[in-house]
Symmetry: C2
Subunit: 235 residues, 2 copies
């Protein structure tokens, strides 16, 4: 069975958290919307033309008869299947807790450029975006990353359990994304998150991820995704 | 073993999704912060003074050695334990998919009164709130509730599987919350979501929930919670 991933083909976005798990697991998958005719297939999925739960938005993963949408639902499912998640209940719930908290940080990063309307363009909401981004830089980045740092301090080299899990891959991705979008803000807090930066570097050196990250499959960050670099928002 | 729930004691908020599952399951629990000395205990939990994963924010649930934070992580955990979740993998993942999508709607409802800063007061961000609420009323409510309606149309009387699950309780709560916060906007779309309204009524009549909802344990909606009624945001 090949996994089918449905996600926007031009951006890393939320789908990247899924791609990282698939790549690190060396799982067989098709990134459907990057294939010819893929957009029509995504449209059919969102229109409920396939069996199972109807997803509201990408990312969506099909695994044989299983359908799952929502980043953390997908990555925890893949983590369980591919030995990238703790096996005990206590660890699995700790992983879910941290992964969902990282997802909150991703949402807040998104809202820096879309504070007043999810559907309008950034250019139509610039004044509010400046305010939101200032608050995000001032307190939210440090709050969330400091939270990850504290959990690393408690748990050891990885966020949960003894081995790298999907949660550590998510932590890598959010640090990369924030470093792209807010290089100045991130430069100011580097000193407060040494363990997290070490984890980021360690994840980036995992052989399968390194191969992926240096391949054309890894899309560059850009200003259509979630992590956007607008200098005026990183003052 | 008694569950310990940690959540803000003055509001329904995200904790209410957890309370509903606990109440419907007739589970033995303490709503810790509503007890004398509870705030100090919450503070200790967030400061990492207890074992296990450190939570960033309430709601947090302790179940013996298990610690779990984040609304959907908690409610899916409780659903699995108390027969309020599908038992098969396909159903469990469908449940997680819909529950996380409802959580996104809750986040967007929150952002209508906090568009530019999570930490500043509503009164400090009123102009942006008007814009955000207008966009939310104009397209987001119908998008999300229509999504739930479509899944009910496909699945039957409940959102996933054949029995009421934690996802249906969450759907009840989000409809109640939106009806409180945006009565005019909700009046306009009632006709488009008949199945969802029927589900809401059915959930409200479950004997244990009815007992809870009419007890003093059910806090009223108010303007400190997530679902706030500001007439200017429901024009």
């Amino acid at each position: 069975m090949k996994y089918e991933l449905y996600y926007w083909p031009e951006i890393q976005g939320r789908g990247e958290f899924v791609r990282l798990v698939l790549e690190d697991a060396d799982a067989s998958y098709v990134d459907v919307v990057r294939e010819p005719g893929g957009y029509a297939r995504l449209k059919a999925v969102l229109a409920g033309e396939r069996d199972g739960v109807i997803p509201l938005a990408p990312p969506v993963l099909y695994a044989g008869p299983i359908v799952v949408a929502q980043t953390v639902a997908i990555t925890s499912f893949l983590g369980d299947r591919h030995d990238l998640a703790p096996r005990d209940e206590r660890g699995r719930l700790a992983a879910l807790t941290i992964a969902l908290t990282i997802a909150d940080l991703v949402d807040e990063a998104h809202d820096t450029h879309h504070p007043t309307s999810v559907e309008a363009r950034y250019e139509q909401q610039k004044p509010a975006a400046r305010e939101r981004a200032a608050a995000f830089r001032r307190s939210r980045i440090a709050k969330f990353l400091g939270y990850l740092e504290r959990n690393l301090e408690r748990n050891g080299d990885v966020l949960v359990g003894n081995e790298v899990s999907y949660v550590d891959l998510a932590a890598f991705q959010v640090v990369e994304g924030l470093s792209y979008a807010f290089p100045r803000a991130m430069a100011r807090i580097r000193g407060e998150i040494p363990r997290l930066l070490t984890l980021r570097d360690r994840v980036a050196q995992r052989p399968r991820l390194l191969r992926y990250l240096t391949s054309p499959r890894r899309l560059p960050f850009n200003e259509q995704g979630i992590f956007r670099h607008y200098p005026e928002l990183d003052a």
